[in-house]
């Protein structure tokens, strides 16, 4: 079964890939916060942020098209922000058939939300695509995520592919038995409620099997001396150059944010 599509990491020999995961995580989070804090309609700031993320994308050797495809995921949710078009106070721009109007301010706000969201998603994709998950998890741990949670997420990752594989095979098996008899006058598919409950049975089956599997995993862990404490090897600190990149990045983002707030 081919479920490796689930892993967002795409290996490349790029400087972005090589950058220490802890530094990358901090930079991406700072970037996202900058985007979030930048006021609406701060177009110069948005342009600079977009330029930054595009530059990083180019450096990552994955190609801008790759990121554009992934960032389109956020697009459908934009509809949730559509109401700001006509509920934001301001001079009307376009009258709506049912009364009220789209205001210029509303359009600005809507566009701001859309652009900010789009830029943010790209930064998130960049992080996931250039950092192997174990490193990302290590970075989260370094930034003080509780050890227990890190351990749970780590184990989840390990078994994610296995469980997704099982889920896909369950669906294949169901497909194989979803047929039309060819007898006249019969509608295939079964009742909707029946279909939902069968799906539930599949979920329950996944659950049970994972529970029983967890017993075996626990035994294997015990056999290797597990005593309830999760320990991991200390990672070497980032190199001075990487600290420099972090400092530089934070400086750039900080200035960008300050300027956008002052100049608006």
């Amino acid at each position: 079964m081919h479920v490796h599509f689930l892993d967002p990491y795409h290996e490349r020999p790029s400087p972005v890939h090589r950058l220490d995961a802890r530094v990358k995580l901090a930079l991406v989070v700072a970037f996202l916060l900058t985007a979030a804090l930048a006021p609406a309609a701060a177009w110069p700031a948005y342009t600079l942020l977009l330029a930054l993320v595009l530059a990083a994308e180019v450096l990552s050797e994955l190609g801008v098209a790759f990121f554009l495809r992934r960032s389109l995921l956020a697009v459908p949710f934009v509809l949730a922000a559509a109401p700001v078009l006509f509920t934001t106070p301001g001079a009307p721009l376009l009258a709506l058939p049912w009364g009220g109007a789209v205001s210029a301010a509303g359009l600005e706000r809507f566009a701001s939300v859309a652009v900010k969201s789009w830029i943010s998603v790209q930064a998130a994709v960049l992080l996931a695509a250039t950092t192997p998950f174990p490193d990302l998890l290590g970075a989260l741990r370094a930034w003080r995520l509780p050890r227990l949670l890190v351990a749970i997420i780590g184990l989840m990752w390990r078994y994610l592919f296995v469980m997704v594989d099982e889920a896909l095979r369950l669906m294949r098996a169901r497909e194989a038995r979803s047929s039309e008899s060819g007898l006249p006058g019969l509608r295939s598919g079964g009742a909707l409620t029946w279909r939902a409950r069968v799906t539930g049975g599949m979920a329950g089956s996944l659950f049970l099997r994972s529970l029983e599997r967890s017993d075996r995993i626990y035994m294997a862990m015990l056999a290797r001396g597990y005593d309830g404490e999760i320990r991991s090897l200390p990672r070497p600190a980032p190199r001075p150059a990487e600290w420099g990149i972090l400092a530089g990045g934070l400086l750039v983002l900080g200035s960008l944010l300050a300027l956008s707030l002052i100049l608006v």
């Binding site: 967002p8 006021p39 996931a128 995993i217």
Partner: protein, 318 residues
């Protein structure tokens, strides 16, 4: 990535103060869950939670055809809460939602706290509250498990959706009068799907490993407080919905404005004030904010009371 239950808010849609508040709420609950699970499950917790989180993630990929091209999916918060208890469910759902955001951009990272609140806090607790209520009402009869399971699943979806709508409203991204009915309405239907799937899963567990369902029955010290708290949270969110909807501030305002066209426009509009004081610029949102704070107080009291009682009853373990 798979777009299932449409509750994962992307970055950019919530204001920073709203994001911060919900981050804080979620962190409090997650830390409490970590402490609680550590006590209950001991060292088995890592393999159990980890693999079950993987199972829930995979379970969310299962689908069934609803009509034409649409398909129904599972969120799993209710199932997790029923089979593992609310605290473990919080951790499991946190892992799932966090990894979905980090790796698959299913939901943003700045707003992750808010998404966690909806799907990893409200979802499991609402489900747990409803489930235990049903069991208490059924007094050991089987419908408590299956009817309760269905209801718990429905409420978990509905409550999470309301949380989502409130967050959007508080950020002034979507007015409450629109977001609440829209989210509540759509997810009332999705909730039925969740209910049916949960029912199917519980049927299988009941047939194959009845002991797992019986284990959830044992009331431990503090659990009563927890599920009552969960129930109150659900009721609060449910009460806020009609309240928010009956404040047609958004539409009212538009109607007023449409009456006259301004030639001169004030340059700053309401952008900066909105940014600095989001949610307090209109009455409805202020009410909702109060409601959320209230829900929070209830939850905090619940948690701390549960902990205090637990330490008192630690020997008897009733």
């Amino acid at each position: 990535m798979f777009l299932h239950v449409t509750m994962h808010i992307p970055d950019g849609f919530l204001s920073v103060p709203v994001s911060v508040v919900f981050w804080m709420l979620s962190i409090v609950v997650i830390l409490a869950a970590l402490a609680r699970v550590n006590r209950d499950l001991g060292e088995r917790e890592v393999p159990v939670m980890g693999v079950l989180a993987a199972a829930i993630f995979a379970g969310q990929m299962l689908n069934f055809t609803v009509a034409g091209g649409t398909s129904g999916h599972l969120l799993g918060a209710a199932l997790a809460a029923i089979l593992l208890g609310p605290w473990a469910a919080v951790l499991v759902m946190t892992s799932v939602v966090a990894v979905q955001a980090l790796l698959f951009q299913d939901g943003g990272l700045v707003v992750l706290g808010a998404n966690l609140f909806n799907m990893a806090v409200v979802g499991p607790f609402a489900a747990y509250g409803v489930y235990r209520l049903a069991q208490w009402l059924a007094r050991g009869r089987r419908w408590g498990i299956f009817g309760g399971g269905f209801a718990a699943a429905w409420f978990s979806i509905e409550a999470a959706a309301l949380g989502c709508a409130l967050q959007l409203a508080l950020s002034n991204t979507s007015p409450a009068s629109l977001a609440v009915p829209a989210m509540a309405g759509i997810h009332a239907l999705i909730g039925i799907g969740e209910g049916l799937i949960t029912l199917g899963a519980l049927s299988l567990v009941w047939a194959a490993r009845r002991d797992l369902l019986a284990a959830g029955q044992t009331a431990r010290a503090g659990n009563t407080v927890v599920w009552v708290g969960g129930l109150l949270l659900t009721l609060l969110l449910a009460a806020l919905a009609p309240l928010a909807s009956t404040h047609p501030d958004g539409l009212e305002w538009v109607a007023e404005r449409a009456g006259f066209i301004e030639a001169a426009q004030s340059p700053a509009y309401t952008l900066i004030p909105d940014y600095v004081f989001p949610g307090i610029s209109n009455e409805a949102a202020a009410t909702i904010l109060a409601g959320v704070v209230g829900a929070l107080v209830v939850l905090s009291v619940t948690i701390f009371t549960a902990r205090a009682r637990r330490s008192r009853h630690s020997v008897t373990g009733d």
